[in-house]
Structures are given as structure tokens and as C-alpha cells.
Symmetry: C2
């Protein structure tokens, strides 16, 4: 039940000590990631490790200057990767057929499963992690930085280091708001009030609304944090990336 404790006590860590991560601990993280479930045993993902100061500066800039990227001793970028598998096919008289959207989804899911195992392995070893959600927004720039070939697209990114902060765990929705028995029970307006009641009652939420000069908490999300123009722009960029990286040939043509 030690593991369950690790999972239940998870907190995102954004501030890190100026202390490198031991090689052995990093190796354990990679081993845990690579032991995760993977579609058909194919392991259609790769992990890019960033430790070099110059590379960290570039990564920091690409991820909109978020301080974690500079402070963390190690950043791992998990990429959906059919390139290695395709090259194996080509070397063994088999024609790779993984230039389509489903193959991207398969590889992306593989990569995220591996990333989450890496996070759990890091936390088990006294390290803290932070997911960097901008990895999908900035896929194009990361492809250039890491020199990713066709068949490879970044999908998850985590910074890792020794925690240099602590705070009470943040809130989560009630379990019965997230778990559905047998069929999806859609939410009435009363359900929504109940689901978000605790979140809305928090001082931190009230502060968040005030700081952003909004009337309600969802307005902070729709107008400030994740507004329409940003979502639309990054949607189109990511779809372009899938095309460029060779994941949008969804026809039987060669």
C-alpha cells in the first residue's frame, strides 16, 4: 500500500532545489516508463532528456518562459514515435502502414502511459514533477529543437527535481462526479452546482476570480487561461504538425 500512498499524496512541484538527480534514480525512472503497458508490445514512443544548460534555455523560451524549465535539473519530453518501428519494418521487408491518424493516437497514448509511470517512479524516489501542458501547443518548435524526424510528435513533458516547496494538496472534484456507473449520467444544473460547490467555496478560487477581474471561476478559464483564440490557433498548428510529421494519410492510396 506504499504505492497507493505515493499516488494519493501527489502534488505538482514547480520549485526545485539546485541539486542534480542521481543517475541511478533517472535510470529507475526510464525503466519504470519502459515497463508500462504499450500497444502490441511495440513501444511506439521515445523520451528526450534535457539536462544541458543551453538546451534548457531554449526549452524555457519555447515553453513561454515558465520558470520550471530553467530551474529543474531534468526535463523529459515524451514523443509519440513510429519512426523507429517504421525503420525496423523497412529493414525487414515489411511495408510500414502507420502514416495515419489512428497510428498517431496509438503512439500518443503509449507515450502518455509511459510519462505517468515516469512521474510515479520519480515521486517514489523523493523527487517532484510538473507536467508542462504547452508541449502540444509548441510541438512544431520542439520538433525543430529536438530534430524529430517524420513519425515523431511531442505529446507530454515533465520537469523533475528535488522539491523546494510544499503546500496543501489542491482540490479535486467529488469521486461520484467523475465516475459513472454503467452509463454516462449527464449533469443537470443542480448536479453542476453540487459537483463544483467545494471548488467554488475555496478562498483560492475566490482570489483567482478577483485577481483576474472576473465574475465567476469558469470565466477565468474561458477568457484568461484557455481562451478561444489560443485553442483554435494551437488546434490548427497541431493538425499541421500531424500532417507534416506524416500522420494524416487516411486513405488507402500509397
Amino acid at each position: 500500500m506504499e504505492t497507493l500512498k505515493t499516488l494519493l499524496e501527489h502534488k505538482t512541484i514547480r520549485k526545485y532545489k539546485d541539486k542534480p538527480i542521481e543517475e541511478e534514480k533517472l535510470t529507475n525512472i526510464f525503466k519504470a516508463a519502459s515497463r508500462a503497458s504499450t500497444t502490441g508490445g511495440m513501444q511506439v514512443y521515445s523520451i528526450i532528456k534535457t539536462e544541458d544548460e543551453k538546451m534548457k534555455d531554449k526549452l524555457h523560451e519555447i515553453h513561454f518562459g515558465m520558470p520550471m524549465l530553467k530551474e529543474a535539473p531534468v526535463t523529459l519530453t515524451f514523443v509519440a514515435d513510429f519512426n523507429r518501428f517504421n525503420k525496423w519494418c523497412e529493414a525487414r521487408n515489411a511495408k510500414p502502414v502507420y502514416d495515419n491518424f489512428m497510428s498517431f493516437m496509438t503512439a500518443a497514448i503509449d507515450a502518455v502511459i509511459a510519462a505517468q509511470n515516469a512521474c510515479v517512479a520519480a515521486e517514489d524516489q523523493g523527487l517532484g514533477i510538473c507536467y508542462i501542458g504547452t508541449v502540444t501547443y509548441q510541438a512544431k518548435k520542439l520538433i525543430d529543437l529536438f530534430e524529430l524526424p517524420k513519425g515523431v510528435v511531442p505529446v507530454a513533458c515533465i520537469t523533475i527535481g528535488y522539491p523546494n516547496e510544499d503546500y496543501p494538496q489542491v482540490d479535486r472534484l467529488p469521486l461520484d462526479a467523475v465516475v459513472h456507473n454503467e452509463k454516462y449520467h449527464d449533469y443537470s444544473e443542480e448536479d453542476i452546482d453540487k459537483v463544483y460547490e467545494y471548488k467554488e467555496s475555496l478562498d483560492s478560487s475566490k482570489q483567482f476570480i478577483e485577481e483576474n477581474n472576473k465574475e465567476t471561476l469558469p470565466q477565468v478559464f474561458t477568457e484568461v487561461r484557455y481562451p478561444k483564440k489560443m485553442n483554435v490557433d494551437f488546434s490548427n498548428t497541431l493538425l499541421e504538425v500531424l500532417e507534416e510529421q506524416g500522420f494524416m494519410n487516411n486513405s488507402m492510396d500509397e
Copy 2:
């Protein structure tokens, strides 16, 4: 380091004892899933629990008759879910702007992170899990079965139960074949030989080639397990699903 052990000893379990899962263990699985990192604290995913025999029969049929779906006491389907969040926005005078591809990706990644935490929590409690990869192929049928509204798309599925089989851990690629330092090192033909040398040397691989009447292992994948027509058909179905579920409005139009 108990947690690391759980991660490193992972084996997919496809055969289950005829024994229900205790409520407490299931609750722990849901707690662990909901404690996972989630974009902006939004928890844009849901979990559908299948235990009912009639629902299991339907799920079994949808997942191409795979025996795990019938045998496992519990199946969990993790769905990318912006419906709950959108309803909250609408109830709080905020216009939801999450009907685009990036929002789908965000929610899908959230769902997979939660799914992997559920797997680790299950294994920590003596249970075994199997990812059911056909969940993305059959998204349309699962939407009908679970009555998923707009904004909701299935992305991961796991069967869970007490293990009724054991076998040696399956192979994984060498760590340095998966981890790249600073930049992506593309694979030469010699690299590919080295990366896949161990996999190709296994008796199980040789048997797999023979059973399928192929010359090489990759041919089993490209011609039998994941052939082109299947990938193309399911790519198009999934893109249709994204359209139908309201995730493909990638323009600033209302």
C-alpha cells in the same frame, strides 16, 4: 521503493479469477486516478465503470469478442470529457470554447494519465490489468452504448480483476533505444539491428512469425496485427467521431 517494484514488475493480466473486486479497492483506484495531474486542475475526463453482466456482454461484443471483457469483474473506460466543464461554464455566465482539436487532445491526455494511475493502484492492491486498445477503434459504438453526450470521447479502457495466470515478463527494447540525450538520434540500419536484436532472438518471436506464416516479425504487424486497411478505416471513423462529438470546430466562427 515499494512503488518502483510495482512499476518494474508490471505484467499485463488477461485471465481473471471469478472473484469480485472489493468496494474499498475500487474506491482506492478511483481516488488514485482522480489524484493524477490534470491540465489546469480541470479534470476533463470521466470514468465509466462496467460491472453489470448485460453491459459486459455488450462491451465484449464491441471489443471484438476479446475474452477479458467477459471474464474481468470490472472494466473501466476512460473518456476525454469536456461536457461537465462546458456545462459548468454555461451555468456560470462563461462561454465554453472547447469544441476544437486541442481541447480533445488536452482531455485525452488527462484521461490517459488518470487511467495509468488507476492501473498502478490496481496492481498495488494485488489486482491485474489489461489495456484494451480497441477502445479508440470502437469509439462510435461505445458512445452509443454508454450514451456519451457531445464533448465526450472514449480514449482508454482497462479490464481489472484478480490474476488467474502468471508468466515471465515480456521483453522491452534496451533503454538507450528509447531514451535520447538532448536531441533525437535517428536510427541507422545498424542501430535498428541492435535495438531489435534481443526481441528477434526470442523463441516467442520466432513462433509468432511461424504461426502467421510470415518471413519477419515486422510483417506480422504490418500484414496481420495492424494492417493498413484497419488503420485507415479506424482513422476515418475516429475523425468522424471527433467531428460528431464537437471537437473539430477549429475556426474562430461561432
